[in-house]
C-alpha cells in the first residue's frame, strides 16, 4: 500500500515540435500536466482549435448514432467489456491520413439526415392538404373560382351540420328580399358543411358578411385546379417525398462500411481535444514552448531520455517541494488494488495521509463476505466474475477492478457461507428432505462455526468485536500518520489517550452484568486486571482532557476542548453499534433464502414438484442475491467511509491524470 512517488518534470522545446512532443507524451501515458498560473498568450487561438476538435468529435458521434439507427451494428451483450481494437502507434498515424474523408462522410451522412427530415415534412404537408381536400371532392370547378360575368361564387364551409332548407331559412331571415341565388351543398358531416353559393355581384358583400358571422371559412388549399386534379398532384408530391426519404435512408445504410472510419474519427478527435486542452494550460513563447508536470519517479529518467533522444528539448527533473500539491496515484498489490476505486470515490490521500487501500481491502472483503454470507452466492460471484475476467482481458481498468473486487468478495462470501452453514440458504437440507427422503430432524449441511439464526446474540457480540477491531486499526493509522509527521504531542493527546481509555472501558465492561445479559455468559477477568483497567481508563480520560488541545495557550479553553474530545466517547459508542448491521444483513440473506426454499418445496417431491421447485428456486434466489448483494456492497462502503475513514482519513488529494491515449472509445493505441 503506497502512494506512487512523483517527480516534477519541466520540458522546454522548439515551437515546431510542440505537437509532436505532446503526441509522444500522450502515447507514453505518464505525464500529468500541471496548470500554469499566468494566462498564456496563445489561449484564444488554442481554445478555438479545441472547440473545433470537440465539434468534430460531436460530428462523428452524431454520424455514428445515425448509422446505428438505420444500420445497427451487430455487437452482442458484452460489447462494452471487449475493449477497443488494438492499433499500433504507427498504424494509428497512417490511419489518421484518411481523417478528412471520414469527416466528409460524417458531414454527408448528417446532410442526408436533414434531407430525410425535410422529405418527411413535405410528405406530411401533402397529407394535410389531401385531408383538407376531402370535403371538396364532389366539386367540379377550380377551388379559386371567384366570379363569372355577373355573379360572385362563394366557396367555403360552415361549421356544424346544415341542410339546404335550414340554410335557406337562415339566409331569408338574415337578408329579407334576397332570393336570386344558387346554392349547392356538398357532402359534409356533423362538424362542417361545405357549400357553393352563386349570387349577383351587388348582393355579394351582404351575403358574405352574413355567412362570415356564421363562421364561413374558405378551403385550406386554393388552387386553379379542380379538387380532383389537385388531389392527383398532391398524391404524386407525397409519393415523391416518401421515395426521396427512402432513398436517403438506403444511402445511409449503404454507408455502413464507413463505420470504422467514423469511429476512428471520433477517437482521434477526442485525443486531439485532450492535447489541445493540455496546450491551453502551457506557456509558449514565439519560438519555444514550455511544459511543467509530474511523472512517477521510477519512470521519469526513462521518459526524459526518450524525449531528449527524439526531439530538440530540454527536460529537467526536480524533486517536488514538501508543501507542493503533488498528484496522487495509488499503487497496491493484486489483492488490494481492486478496492482502489473505493478509496478513489471517497477521495485520494491528501497531504500527510497514508494510502489506506491495503488495510481497507482486507476489511472490505471480510465485512462484505460476513454480510452476504452464503456459500452458494459466493460461488456464483467467483464463477461469474472469474469467467468475465478471463473472457474479456481488454476491458477498461475500472470495470476490471470492479470485477476483481467482486471476485474476492465472492471468495469471502463463500468462506463465511461455509462457516455459517448457508448454501442458497438451507437449500441442501430442503432438497434432501423433500426429494431424497432424509428424515426432517437430520441436518445434512452443518455450519462449520454456528448458525446465526440460532444464536443471533453470539453473532451480534462478534459483530461488535470486528467493529472495535476495525475502528482500532483506523485509530492506529491516525497515530502512525501523526508520528510520521513527528507530531508526538498530538499522538499522545488524540490517539494514545483514546486507546488507553477505550481498552480500559472494554476491560471494565466484559465482566459486567450488562455484557452478560447480551452475550449470555460474562467473560471472567482476573481482579488485578480489573483494577488495572480502571486505572487505564482514568489515565486515558485525563490524557484526553489535558492533551487533546495541548497547543492552546488559554488553559480554560484547552480544558474545554479536552472535555469536548472526551464527549466523543458517544461517537465511539454509536460507531460500534453501527456494526450491528453485520448481523442484520447476514440474517436477512439467510432467512429470505430459507423462505424461498420452503416456498419452492411446498409442492412436495416427484417430477412435478421438482420442476416447480427449480423455477421458484431460480427466480427467488436471483432476486434475493441481487438485493442482498446491493445491501452488502452499500453497507460495506458505508462502514469503510463513515466509521473507518472517519477515524483518520480526509482524502483531499488531487488525482494523477496523465495525458493519455486511453480516452478513446473504439480503438486502443498499443503501448510502446
Amino acid at each position: 500500500m503506497s502512494v506512487v512517488s512523483m517527480q516534477k518534470m519541466l520540458i522546454a522545446g522548439m515551437r515546431e515540435e510542440q505537437d509532436a512532443v505532446l503526441k509522444e507524451l500522450q502515447r507514453r501515458r505518464l505525464f500529468h500536466l500541471s496548470k500554469m498560473e499566468e494566462e498564456t498568450l496563445s489561449a484564444p487561438e488554442v481554445k478555438e482549435k479545441l472547440t473545433r476538435a470537440e465539434k468534430q468529435a460531436q460530428l462523428a458521434d452524431n454520424a455514428l448514432k445515425l448509422l446505428n439507427e438505420y444500420a445497427p451494428a451487430d455487437e452482442g451483450m458484452f460489447a462494452s467489456l471487449k475493449g477497443g481494437r488494438e492499433l499500433s502507434a504507427d498504424a494509428w498515424q497512417e490511419k489518421a491520413l484518411s481523417l478528412p474523408q471520414a469527416a466528409a462522410l460524417a458531414e454527408s451522412l448528417l446532410e442526408k439526415q436533414k434531407g430525410i427530415g425535410e422529405a418527411a415534412a413535405k410528405a406530411a404537408r401533402a397529407q394535410v392538404l389531401l385531408e383538407g381536400l376531402v370535403p371538396w371532392e364532389g366539386l367540379d370547378m377550380p377551388l379559386n373560382t371567384s366570379e363569372t360575368g355577373r355573379c360572385r361564387v362563394l366557396i367555403g364551409a360552415l361549421p356544424g351540420a346544415w341542410t339546404e332548407e335550414s340554410l335557406k331559412d337562415a339566409l331569408a331571415a338574415g337578408l329579407p328580399g334576397f332570393d336570386t341565388y344558387e346554392l349547392e351543398l356538398l357532402k359534409g358531416d356533423a362538424t362542417q358543411t361545405p357549400l357553393v353559393l352563386l349570387c349577383l355581384k351587388e348582393d355579394a358583400p351582404a351575403v358574405e358578411d352574413l355567412l362570415r358571422k356564421k363562421g364561413f371559412a374558405k378551403p385550406i388549399l386554393v388552387s386553379d385546379k379542380t379538387p380532383a386534379e389537385a388531389k392527383e398532384d398532391l398524391q404524386f408530391e407525397k409519393a415523391a417525398a416518401v421515395t426521396e426519404g427512402e432513398e436517403l435512408k438506403a444511402a445511409i445504410r449503404a454507408a455502413a462500411p464507413g463505420r470504422d472510419a467514423l469511429q476512428f474519427l471520433y477517437d482521434e478527435s477526442q485525443l486531439e481535444a485532450g492535447r489541445l486542452a493540455a496546450l491551453a494550460k502551457t506557456g509558449e513563447g514565439s519560438r519555444s514552448f514550455f511544459l511543467s508536470g509530474y511523472v512517477p519517479a521510477n519512470r521519469a529518467e526513462a521518459l526524459k531520455k526518450q524525449l531528449e533522444d527524439k526531439y530538440t528539448v530540454s527536460v529537467s527533473l526536480i524533486d517536488a517541494a514538501p508543501e507542493e500539491a503533488v498528484p496522487v496515484a495509488l499503487h497496491n498489490n493484486r489483492f488490494a488494488a481492486p478496492t482502489e476505486s473505493v478509496v478513489e470515490s471517497y477521495g485520494l490521500p491528501g497531504e500527510g495521509e497514508v494510502d489506506p487501500t491495503g488495510i481497507m481491502a482486507i476489511f472490505y472483503y471480510f465485512l462484505f463476505g460476513l454480510m452476504l454470507s452464503d456459500a452458494g452466492y459466493g460461488l456464483l460471484m467467483i464463477v461469474g466474475c472469474g469467467l468475465v475476467l478471463k473472457k474479456f482481458p481488454k476491458m477498461s481498468r475500472s470495470t476490471k477492478q470492479m470485477m476483481t473486487m467482486f471476485f474476492w468478495c465472492g471468495v469471502s462470501t463463500f468462506l463465511w457461507g461455509i462457516l455459517f452453514g448457508g448454501f442458497f440458504g438451507d437449500a441442501i437440507d430442503v432438497i434432501a428432505h423433500t426429494f431424497f427422503g432424509v428424515p426432517k430432524d437430520v441436518q445434512v449441511f452443518k455450519p462449520l462455526w454456528f448458525a446465526p439464526l440460532e444464536k443471533p446474540m453470539k453473532l451480534l457480540v462478534y459483530s461488535f468485536l470486528f467493529g472495535v477491531l476495525h475502528l482500532f486499526v483506523g485509530l492506529g493509522l491516525k497515530g502512525w500518520q501523526l508520528l510520521k509527521q513527528k507530531r508526538v504531542m498530538d499522538f499522545i493527546g488524540s490517539v494514545l489517550s483514546w486507546f488507553l481509555l477505550l481498552i480500559g472501558l472494554i476491560l471494565m465492561l466484559l465482566p459486567s452484568d450488562l455484557f452478560a445479559s447480551i452475550s449470555g455468559s460474562p467473560i471472567p477477568i482476573p481482579e488485578p486486571v480489573q483494577s488495572a483497567a480502571k486505572i487505564l481508563a482514568l489515565i486515558g480520560a485525563v490524557g484526553l482532557l489535558l492533551f487533546a488541545a495541548w497547543d492552546r495557550k488559554n488553559f480554560g479553553l484547552r480544558l474545554a476542548l479536552g472535555a469536548y474530545e472526551l464527549y466523543g466517547i458517544t461517537g465511539w459508542l454509536s460507531d460500534v453499534l453501527s456494526y450491528s448491521r453485520l448481523l442484520a444483513l447476514g440474517l436477512a440473506t439467510g432467512v429470505i433464502a430459507s423462505v424461498i426454499n420452503s416456498m419452492a418445496s411446498m409442492f412436495g417431491g416427484g417430477v412435478k414438484g421438482a420442476i416447480l421447485f427449480i423455477i421458484i428456486f431460480l427466480v427467488g434466489h436471483a432476486l434475493n442475491m441481487a438485493i442482498n448483494l446491493l445491501g452488502a456492497y452499500v453497507h460495506t462502503n458505508r462502514l469503510q467511509y463513515v466509521e473507518f475513514f472517519g477515524k483518520f482519513y480526509d482524502g483531499g488529494g488531487e488525482a494523477y491524470e496523465p495525458l493519455t491515449t486511453d480516452t478513446t472509445k473504439y480503438y486502443h493505441m498499443e503501448e510502446t
Partner: protein, 178 residues
C-alpha cells in the same frame, strides 16, 4: 322453547363467565402475534414501496438524458427497498415461532409481546424508507450533475438506513428470544 332457552342461559352463564378468560387467553394470543407480523410486513413494505417509487421516478428522468448511468441510478433507487425486506425478515422469524410456519400458538400475553416486538421495524421501517427515498432522489440529482460522485451519492441515503437497521435489531432480537 323459551323456557329451555332461559334454562340454558341461566345454567350456562356462570360457566361461560369462567371459561371466557381462559378461552381468550388461549385463542387471542395468535391474533395479537399475527397482528404484529402483519404490521411489520405492511408498514415497512409500504415505506419501501413509496421510497423506491420516488427513486424510480427521479431515475427515469435522469435516464432520458444519460442512459449510461443506468446501473448507478438503479442502485440509488433500490436503497430504500431494504426496509421492506427487514419487515419481511421479522415477520418470517415470528411466523416460524407462533405456530404458523413452526413453533406453537402463544398465549395472549406472549402474543402481545410479539406485537410489541414487531412495532420498531414497522414504524421506523415506514418512515425511514420514505425519508431514504427522498435522500435517494437528491442523490440521483447529484449523480446526474456529476457522475464521479457516486461514492458520496450512495453514502447519503445509506446514512438514513442506520436507524432502520437499529430498529430491525431490536425487533429481531426480541422476536427470536421470546
Amino acid at each position: 322453547m323459551g323456557n329451555l332457552l332461559s334454562l340454558a342461559l341461566t345454567t350456562g352463564a356462570p360457566a361461560a363467565a369462567e371459561a371466557a378468560p381462559a378461552l381468550l387467553n388461549d385463542q387471542l394470543g395468535i391474533v395479537y402475534a399475527l397482528l404484529g407480523v402483519a404490521l411489520a410486513t405492511l408498514l415497512a413494505g409500504i415505506g419501501s414501496a413509496i421510497g423506491v417509487g420516488m427513486g424510480g421516478r427521479a431515475a427515469a428522468g435522469v435516464l432520458t438524458e444519460k442512459p449510461e448511468l443506468f446501473a448507478k441510478v438503479l442502485i440509488l433507487q433500490l436503497l430504500p427497498g431494504t426496509q421492506g425486506i427487514y419487515g419481511l425478515l421479522v415477520a418470517f422469524v415470528a411466523l416460524g415461532k407462533i405456530g404458523v410456519l413452526g413453533g406453537e400458538a402463544p398465549d395472549a400475553r406472549t402474543g402481545l409481546l410479539y406485537l410489541a416486538a414487531c412495532l420498531p421495524i414497522a414504524f421506523v421501517g415506514l418512515l425511514s424508507a420514505i425519508h431514504q427515498g427522498k435522500t435517494s432522489v437528491a442523490s440521483i440529482g447529484l449523480l446526474a450533475k456529476n457522475p464521479k460522485t457516486f461514492g458520496k451519492a450512495m453514502l447519503l441515503p445509506a446514512m438514513v438506513e442506520t436507524y432502520a437497521i437499529l430498529a430491525l435489531l431490536v425487533s429481531i432480537l426480541t422476536v427470536s428470544n421470546l
